[in-house]
Structure formats: structure tokens, C-alpha cells
Amino acid sequence: MASIKAIINGKSITAESGMTILQAARANGIHIPTLCDHPALSPFGACRICLVEAEKNPKLLTSCTTPITEGMIVHTNTPRVIEARKAVLELILVRHPLECFSCASNGKCELQDVAYELGVKDSRFADPGDTNTSHKLEDANPFYVRDLNKCILCGRCVRVCEEHAIYHAIDFQGRGIHTSIQPPVGSPIEESDCVFCGQCVQVCPVGALFEKTAAGQGRPWDLEKVKTVCSYCGVGCELEVNVNKKTGKIANVTTNYSSPTALNKGRSCVKGRFAWQFVHSEDRLTTPLIREGDTFRKASWDEALSLVAEKLGEVKTKHGSDALGFFSSARCTNEENYLMQRLAREVMGTNNVDHCAHL
């Protein structure tokens, strides 16, 4: 790839041909704040937070969509740039409800981060009553909630649905202050092409989209990410289980578009992202059980294991090894399956061991 020489903030840099100013800056350790930009999505230029100044260019440029060119001299934090960014941010804040105390995204909100970085507390342009209250909270499905009053129209959800989920279930609708992200006119999200993979929730920079069951389960700073693999189909999607360190419970499940180890490249389906609550179900078995007539009674591990060993041994002695059958599980790990067939073959002396591969 051809290499390009340019100057950013007085520092000589090299970049690959075809890179945007933003990409070139990041590759050279120079920070530019952004909102609509996302590493997994195509450049969009919607939010205009990433404006920069390039010499010989009368207008400010969106660094996320402008290619860097040979000899370009770029400034990312001149007073003019900072003033423009603040103005852009304050225009976004005119309508954005400042409900950060109760917002599900508090602590991971990218709008908060940019406001903090630019030292903006509220909007000079806001009049009383400007805060968006025109949308009703949409929580009809069990997976995610849409709070469109908080939406900043960055278009990440539209792009992720189009580029990763490949459904294009939602898009921009209406004009001016009536613009909102919607499924095709006249149908609620539940009757649209949406399949609830939740990738839109994953990329939303604010609190406009959030997982329904994560509400109240832990602030971002309470959560610890554990990288693992999904328990459903055979694709083997890498997932992050977010555990609340205080409660020891799962708060939500997320994915990482930038993970080099993720075979799914950050993508997910509804089961992987939203069908984990069974882990904490009230119905979970918590002690060994032994049959007594038509019911079960609780037993200690020692008693239960002794009984299992005794009875399996008894069948083998009385009727031979092949009077025993072992059903293993494609739900369990390799290690567990390996042990199950050793139990059958080595310990009990039968090849009667199989699992549900055919079902």
C-alpha cells in the first residue's frame, strides 16, 4: 500500500493511502473525539464532532470521512476547531434529556465523555421546553428498550443493522427535528424485519437503546467482562459475559467488534445476546435428589454419588457391561464428554456411549 506523508498538529506522520484523517491520526496516537464513528462501521459523517482544520481549506472538515492526502497539514485542536466542536455538541444537547442519574448508559455514554472532554455542561442554545419528550418509551419486546428521546441520530444502529446483521430493519425517518430511527412506516419494531440480534444496542453511544433485563443489574464500573463462547448453536460466537462484582450475577452479555479472537467478528443473534437468564433461574437444581416413591428427597453429594456408583456396579455385575447406557451431551465441554466416554468404556466396560448429534 502506498504511503502518504502529512503533518498533524505539527508532527510529521505517515499514513496508508486511502486512510481518513481520523484513521491516520489514530494510527499515529493523536486523539480526535467522535460520536457517530465506530471501528466496525463504514464512515458516516453524521455527528460532526470530529471536525478538524486543514490548511488551504476554507471549511472545517469531518475527519472521519475526509481522506488524508500527500502533504496535508491538519490541526485537530485549534481554538476555531474547539469552538466549532462545542457548538456542534451544544446543538445535540438542545434536545437530549440530561437524565444521566437514572440513565442505563451512565458511565459508558460517549456523549457524556465528549461533553466532559470539551468542558460543556449544558447548551447555550437550549430554551425551556426544548428537551425531546415527543417519543414514548418503547418496551413492548422482552429484549431491548428504545428511548428515542435520547437518540442523537448518529446512525450507528442503522449501519450495524445494514452492514452486520444484514437486515436493514430500521432507517432514518422524517425530517428536521422530527427525524427519528424507525422500522418501515406504520409497523412497530416487533412486526418489522428486526430479529432482535441486539447489535444496535451494542453500538448505541448513548442511552437510546438498552437491554431490558440489564436495568438495575449494575453500573458499567461494577461489571467485569469474562470472555467466553456462546452456549447455543455450533457457530461458536465469542461473547463477553458482564458480571456484577457486587452481586456475583450476570448483568448482560455483549460482543466485541474489535476482538482479534472473535470468529463472529462481534456479531450475535438474539439467543447469544439475550437468552442467558436461565443461568439464574429459580428452577435450577441446587442439591442432589434421590427418588422416594413418587417424589424426590434432597440428599448429600456423598450419599448420591455412593448410590450412583453402587447401582451402576450392581447392573454391571448382574447383567453385564452392555446392560448399561451412557448419554453424553453436546451442551457440555470437550473435557466432560471425554470423561463420560472413559467412564463408559474404561470404568464400566461398554461402548454404549453416544450423544444427541443426530437429534
Binding site: E163, A165, V195, T228, V229, Y232, C233, G234, V235, G236, E238, G248, I250, T261, L263, C269, A275, F278, V279, L285, T286, T287, L289, F296, W301, L307, V308, A309, K311, L312, E314, D322, L324, G325, F326, F327, S328, S329, A330, C332, T333, N334, E335, E336, N337, Y338, M340, Q341, R342, L343, R345, E346, V347, G349, N351, N352, D354, H355, A357, L359
Partner: protein
């Protein structure tokens, strides 16, 4: 797996996900990819959208993928062998096959030509209901490639002639030389997180870990050396066969781990009878499932998210799974329980006391896993075969030829499915999964997904609905030779006239009451996809 093992040498998916990006033609048959493997579905859709890729979808149900297909073929349920033979007939007739590849790599070409001769598009059309032109279009697109990939799943395997279906898929790929390169391959998508791993680690009645046949002296020798025990030399019984044997009183004791046989096996009434007859049943699970209700002892297991280990995905990639939270009460990881049971029955197993040490034991006996360690997996997935610690893993199989030197054409003639519509049972019932649920539903019905789709429904074609005089949401009863279930009607042209579809995730109205426990004689897989039934409106 049996069909592929016999023709190609290994029963696993040949190519990885990256490979999809290089496919010029993608043929999907018997796989509702966007619902059952949604992320792979998205990779295929992405490839299609980027252009220059021909998509062929063959499925009796007009699944989502059919919307994007260049060629959509709606063959009758149970006629896959005829359809694929028809494709091969056209490819042979028009000299579109890979003659150099065949000469170098494949035996039995003359026999294939002979068997295919009668499968003219006209003849195939009569049985499958597909127009001769579509059969020709599909054949030409697949043969043209230059890189064509086939994806299939249970729509191919869950038939009494499932092994023939798989052999036929492999024949087609061999005929056109569509193996061993990015963008090609025979790709059976595995339906469960670790079904590949359960096979790899020897939870099959005829092989120990690494697909080494129990009947071979070399295998017995190896077991003697590594485990210090004598390996029984006769293959054991499959899941469905074990259930039959229990029903007949031949199997007296059963150990079931993480499987809800009452819901997932065919012919539920028979399963109930078999489980009741056992002298001793131990069930190890995370819930008191319908199967556990019959147990003498129930052992509480840790679930996903509560234990460490590895899963092997559909394209043979071994990955680490990690513990995130503690188990409730006294529940323990399955590996811990199995170690304890084994030791009480006299096993020494001193070299295994953690998931990592057990994994290392797998590598000692299964050559394909020998080079994989927990330390290496920290850097990401490794696809087997990975025979040494320096080996990078094998994302694409057969790049330099076939394990046995040459692959074999295994031509098959079509046999009419055992259950074909009759005057008394004029409809075909087919069962399967839906996006929002998984298998017996014991996990998804206790999660957010359970609130979204709460109960069983029956997909009925509009023409059949009119004839039966039922409206959307009304109840119908579906009756097979085994039993009956009722559910609300969902009128949709996703199913062809004469066929109904029932998701099998709902234990209270289990679709498997209808299905037959007859199995494919080679792969031991039941014929879930074709069941003759009658429909009645209930009031």
C-alpha cells in the same frame, strides 16, 4: 457424519467462515441458516450483497434465505437425493465436471456416471416438483464456480436415507472438484455448541477420541497403553438404539448427562415407556427436566457460564469457555461429578484434576488435538487437525489431497421415504427449530426469548387452511401413526401445500409425539423431517 467420513475421509465441515468471502457460488440445501446459524447466515448474506456471487437455495420451506436466492428450488420433502442426482446428470451431460480433479483424486467415477444416467431433468422434475429449467440453472451455476461451496444441516441428515443424502452432497462436490480451496467445501453446519467436540472426544458408540474405531487392534493397543484398560471391541448402541434396548429390557441402567430425551427424541411415548422400565436411571442436568422426572438419582450440574473448558465449533475450531459466575447451591461442574463417579467405581485418573489436565489427556489420545493447549488457546481458536505445538491448525481440509489417498464417489439411488402421504395421512409434517428457541427449550424458555414466543404453533399453507376451514390462530390437531398434538395455526406460504411445520421446543405440546423412532441404518439418525400426518380442526 457417516456419509462424509465414507466419501471424503472426515465427517466434519471442510472450510472455515473466512472462506465464505471467496465463494462464487453458494448452494444451501436443507439449512434454515438465518434462524439456526444466524451469524453464518449474516456472512453468507454479506457475501451475496457484495456481488458476483450466485446463491442457490433448495428447501421445501420458503425460508428467509430463499428471498436472496438467484435460484430458489422448492423440492418436495424427502426428495433431496433425486434433486442432487439431477444436478449431477446435467453436469455430466454438459461436460461441466472437473475431469483432472477426478482422475487424480476420486475412485468410482464410472459407477457414478452409470447411476446418474436415469436422473434426467424431466424425471427429477416429476418426483421433486421442480421445473427442469431450474435444475439446469442450479447445476450450471454450481459447476461454473470457479469456487462453489455447499452448506447443509438437519434438512439433509434427519431422514431415514440421511446418509444417502450426505453421500450425494459429497458426490456433487467431488464431481466439480469443489474441495480444498477457499470458497469451496462441503459444510455441514452443526446445530449445537459442542456437538463437534462431543464427536471428537469419542462420545460415539463406534469410535474413541479422534475417530479411532473400537474394532481396530491398533485402537485397543493404544487404549491399553494410555488408559491401562481393555477396550470392548464391539461397537456400542446409539442414543435411539439404547432407548429401544431399554424398552426391550436389555439395557437396565442409564446415565444421562445434559440431555432431555423426553422432548428431543422421536416418539416420546416410547421414550417414556423405556425410561420407566429401567432398574436405575441417573440424570445429571441443570434443571429437573421431563427426563429427570423419571430418574432414581438427580445430580445438579453447573451450567454454561459457571465452568471452564473448551468447545469445538462447527468448523472444527477449538475455543476456551470460561467461568463467569458461581453455581447456585451445591451444583457442581459436570467434569467434577464424572471424576467423582469414576473414582468411586475404581478409576485412578490421578493425572486429571482440572479442565486443563483433562484437555491434555484428550491430546494424548486424539492426534488432531495433540498440538492444542490452553496456553495456545489464549491467543484465539485453533481448528483441528493440529498435530503439534508448532502447527497453526487447519482452517481448510483436503488442500493437499485426501486422507486415504483418494476419495470415493458413493452414488445413491433415490428411495421413497418410509413415510409418504397416504389417503389416511395425506400431509407431511416436518419438525425443526425457530430463531427464538433452542432444542427442548429448557434454556430459552427460561430466558427473555421465552416471553417472546410462548407456545407451539403449526405452519399451514393458505390453500390447506382454506380447505380445512381454519383461520390464523385457530386450533388444529395433527395426528400421525404415533400420536397427536394440537396447536394454533399460523397461515403462511413458508410451507408448501401438503406440508405442515412444527417447532419442537415445547414439551407440553411436543412435536416429537408425532415423529417416528425409525433410524437411518448407517448414521442412526431419525427421520424427523418426513412424517405422514392428518390434520383436523378442533373446536
Amino acid at each position: 457424519m457417516t456419509g462424509l467420513g465414507e466419501t471424503l475421509g472426515s465427517g466434519a465441515m471442510t472450510n472455515d467462515f473466512e472462506s465464505i468471502k471467496s465463494a462464487d457460488t453458494i448452494l444451501i440445501i436443507g439449512s434454515n441458516t438465518t434462524e439456526n446459524h444466524p451469524v453464518i447466515g449474516s456472512f453468507i448474506k454479506e457475501r451475496k450483497r457484495k456481488g458476483n456471487c450466485t446463491l442457490i437455495v433448495c428447501d421445501p420451506r420458503k425460508i428467509e434465505m430463499a428471498k436472496y436466492a438467484d435460484v430458489y428450488i422448492r423440492q418436495k420433502s424427502g426428495s433431496d437425493v433425486v434433486l442432487l442426482n439431477g444436478l449431477m446428470h446435467v453436469i455430466l451431460r454438459e461436460n461441466l465436471y472437473a475431469s483432472d480433479f477426478i482422475e487424480k483424486n476420486v475412485n468410482n467415477f464410472e459407477k457414478l456416471k452409470e447411476t446418474m444416467s436415469k436422473y434426467t431433468p424431466q424425471y427429477v422434475s416429476e418426483i421433486t416438483g421442480v421445473s427442469p429449467e431450474l435444475i439446469e440453472d442450479a447445476a450450471r451455476a454450481y459447476a461454473k464456480g470457479p469456487n462453489s461451496a455447499i452448506f447443509y444441516t438437519m434438512g439433509i441428515t434427519q431422514h431415514l436415507n440421511g446418509t444417502d443424502n450426505v453421500r450425494t452432497v459429497a458426490n456433487l462436490a467431488l464431481l466439480c472438484g469443489m474441495l480444498g480451496r477457499p470458497g469451496t467445501g462441503v459444510n455441514p453446519l452443526r446445530g449445537q455448541n459442542n456437538v463437534q467436540g462431543a464427536c471428537d472426544t469419542g462420545c460415539l458408540p463406534e469410535v474413541i477420541p479422534g475417530y479411532q474405531k473400537v474394532t481396530l487392534p491398533a485402537t485397543q493397543q493404544k487404549v491399553k497403553e494410555l488408559w491401562g484398560s481393555d477396550l470392548p471391541a464391539t461397537p456400542g448402541l446409539s442414543v435411539v438404539e439404547m432407548m429401544h434396548a431399554a424398552g426391550e429390557g436389555k439395557i437396565k441402567g442409564m446415565y444421562i448427562m445434559g440431555e432431555n430425551s423426553m422432548v428431543t427424541e422421536p416418539d416420546s411415548d416410547h421414550v417414556r415407556h423405556a425410561l420407566k422400565k429401567l432398574d436405575f436411571l441417573v440424570v445429571q442436568d441443570i434443571f429437573l427436566t421431563e427426563t429427570a422426572e423419571f430418574a432414581h438419582v438427580v445430580l445438579p450440574a453447573a451450567s454454561w457460564g459457571e465452568k471452564d473448558g473448551t468447545f469445538t465449533n462447527t468448523c472444527r475450531a477449538v475455543q476456551r469457555v470460561r467461568k463467569a459466575v458461581d453455581s447456585p447451591g451445591e451444583a457442581r461442574p459436570d467434569w467434577e461429578i464424572l471424576l467423582a463417579v469414576g473414582k468411586r467405581l475404581g478409576a485412578s485418573w490421578n493425572d486429571m484434576n482440572s479442565p486443563e489436565t483433562i484437555f491434555n489427556a484428550i491430546g494424548r489420545i486424539a492426534p488432531a488435538y495433540a498440538g492444542i493447549t490452553y496456553a495456545r488457546l489464549e491467543g484465539g481458536a485453533l481448528p483441528w487437525p493440529c498435530p503439534t505445538c508448532e502447527h497453526p491448525g487447519t482452517p481448510i481440509l483436503y488442500t493437499t489431497g485426501f486422507p486415504r489417498g483418494k476419495a470415493d464417489f458413493s452414488p445413491c439411488d433415490w428411495v421413497k421415504p418410509d413415510e409418504w402421504p397416504t389417503e389416511e395421512y395425506p400431509f407431511i409434517a416436518t419438525t425443526g427449530r425457530i430463531l427464538y428457541h433452542y432444542h427442548s427449550g429448557s434454556m430459552t424458555r427460561r430466558s427473555s426469548t421465552g416471553e417472546f414466543i410462548k407456545e407451539m404453533y403449526i405452519e399451514v399453507n393458505p390453500a390447506d387452511a382454506t380447505a380445512l376451514n381454519v383461520k390464523d390462530g385457530e386450533q388444529i390437531k395433527v395426528t400421525s401413526r404415533r400420536g397427536e398434538v394440537s396447536g394454533s395455526v399460523k397461515i403462511t406460504d413458508r410451507v408448501p401445500a401438503g406440508t405442515v411445520f412444527l417447532p419442537f421446543h415445547f414439551s407440553e405440546t411436543s412435536a416429537n409425539i408425532l415423529t417416528s423412532a425409525k433410524i437411518d441404518p448407517y448414521s442412526k439418525t431419525p427421520g424427523f423431517k418426513v412424517n405422514a400426518v392428518k390434520l383436523e380442526k378442533t373446536v
